[in-house]
Symmetry: C2
Subunit: 324 residues, 2 copies
Amino acid sequence: MMVKIGRARAHTNIALIKYWGKRDERLVLPMNSSLSLTLDSLYTETEVVFNRDVDMDYFYLDGKIQDVESTNRVSRFLDLFRNAADMGEFAIVKSKNYVPTGAGLASSASGFAALAAAANIASGLNLDDRELSIYARQGSGSATRSIYGGFVEWRKGIDCWDSYAVAIDDGKWDIGMVIVIVNPREKRISSREGMKRTLHTSPFYGSWVESAKEDLRNIKIAIEERDIESIGRIAESNSFKMHATMLGANPPLLYWEPETIEVMEIVHELREQGLPCYFTMDAGPNVKILCRLSDAERIRSSLEQVFKPEQIIVAGSGPGIAIL
Amino acid sequence: MMVKIGRARAHTNIALIKYWGKRDERLVLPMNSSLSLTLDSLYTETEVVFNRDVDMDYFYLDGKIQDVESTNRVSRFLDLFRNAADMGEFAIVKSKNYVPTGAGLASSASGFAALAAAANIASGLNLDDRELSIYARQGSGSATRSIYGGFVEWRKGIDCWDSYAVAIDDGKWDIGMVIVIVNPREKRISSREGMKRTLHTSPFYGSWVESAKEDLRNIKIAIEERDIESIGRIAESNSFKMHATMLGANPPLLYWEPETIEVMEIVHELREQGLPCYFTMDAGPNVKILCRLSDAERIRSSLEQVFKPEQIIVAGSGPGIAIL
C-alpha cells in the first residue's frame, strides 16, 4: 500500500486590524491588508494521508466524519496541492481542533493553515512559508496569517501569487490575550456571508477600507515601539469600525450579545484602574482582550465575577506552523 | 405688579430618521433633515412669567430651582423672545416634565418646545407654528419637531429662518411605541458633545448623511402607505447607522448597555412570531419599539418577562403643542 503522509500543527490568530471583505471571492483576495497576533493555546493538528486505494476524500474532525459540505471544502483545497504535484490520490484527513469551532475564534484559520502544512508534506511539494501562506489563503482568508507566529501582516497584494502573510514581530515579549467565550454556539451568519453582505450593501464600506489602511500603518509603528496602549487603542477602534460597517449592512448585521457589552464594561473599568487592556471582536459574540500576558490573571479574576472559569481562555503569543 | 404669563404643553418625539450633527453650532442647523413621531404620554408643561420686579431669570424644573448652567441655557433661549419683542423683563420659568430627564427620551425636545410656546404667549409675540419651530430649534434641535403632532419632518433648510419642522401625517391611525427604560440615569456623554465628536472624527460621517437622505425619502413613502413593516425596517436600519457612525468616532462612542441588546433580541423574536415591531435607539441605552398601538400590550407582556413594569412605557401618537 503506497501512502504519502504529512502531519502539522498551526495556531489560530486574532486580527487586530480586521479582514472583512474580498475583492475576489474565488481567489480569496482581500479588500484591505490586515494584521493579527498568533496565539499559543489555540491550535489545530492535522494529518493528511494520500492513498490510491481510497475512493474519495474523507475528512474527520475531532474523531467524527464530517458532512459533504465540509468535506467538499477540504477536497477543493487539497485539489490545489494535487494539481500542483500532478497527483490523483484521494486523501484521508484527520484534524483535531484545540479551538472551539465556529465560535468566532477563527478555527478555520488554524484549520486551513494546518491542512496546508500537512498537505505540503504529504504531497511532497515542499512549498516555502510564503507559498504556504498563499495556499492557506485559498482555504480561508484568515489562515493566510496562521503560517507565522507573533504579529503577522497579511498584505493584500495585487494578484493570487502576491497576496500573502509576512511576520512583523515575533511576539516574544509581554503580550497576550484573554478570550471570553460568551457563546460557544455556531454563529448564525458565517463570516463568508456576512462580509459579502457588508461589502455589497453597507454605505460605510469604502470608508472602512480607507480607515483600515491608516490603522495598519499606525499599529505597525506601535508594535515596533512595543507600545501596548497604542496597539490596543488602534485595535479596539478598528474592531468597532468593522462592526459599525456591518451595522450599516442591509439587512443590518449585529453579532453582539448582551454579555459582549458586559465584557466591554469590565475592560473599561479595568482600564480606568490603570490596567492597559483593550477588546476586539470578530464575527461572533465572543470578546478577545489584548493585554500584557503578565496582567492576564488579574483580568481573568475580574471576569470570573461574572463569567464561569470555563468561559475564559488565557493565551500568549504563539509560534508559526510546526511539522509533527 | 405687571406680569406677563404664558403656559403651554409640548410632547416629546422620537426620531425615526435621526438628527446627529450640526452644520452650525450656534444656530442649531442640522447636517441632515430628520423625521419623528410625537408621543402622547411623554410631555412637558411650562409656565413663563415675565416680571419686571425680579432681578434675574429663575428656572424651576419639577419644583426644584435649577443650577446656573441650566438656567443660563433657558435665559439665552428667552433672550430670543425678549429681543424680538423688545422687552427687558426677567422671567420665572416653571416646568414639569412627564419624561424621565436625560435618559435618551429627548426631554429637551418637549422641554424647549413647551418653553417656546409659553414664552410666545408671555412675550405677546404671536409667532405661528412654523416660526415657533424655528425658535424651538435654537433651544434644542429635536425640539423643532415637537411643535407638531404625529409624524413630523425637520427640514434642514439653508439658513436660520429656513430650517423648521413640517407635519407629514397626523399619526391618527394604529401606530405607537413601547419604550424600555434600560437605565434612567443621565447619559455620560451628552448628545451635544457626542454629535460634535462624531462629526469631526468618524470616517463614516459623510456616508451617514447621504444615507439618511435616502432613508428619509423612503420612510415618507412608507408613512403615506401606512406600511408599518417598511417604516419600521427603515427606522431600525437608520438607527443602527447612526450608532455605527458613533462607533467610528475617536474615541469611539457606544451608548448601549447589555440590556439594550436584550431588548433587540426580544424584538427579533416577536418579529419572527409575525408581530411587526422594530427598535430605534438614541444617544442612550434605552430602546424605543415602533409597533401598532394595538400590539403594544402584547409587546409589553413579552418585555415584562425580563424587565420591571416601571421600566416599560407605552405611548401612542401624540398631538402638537397646546396652550394651557
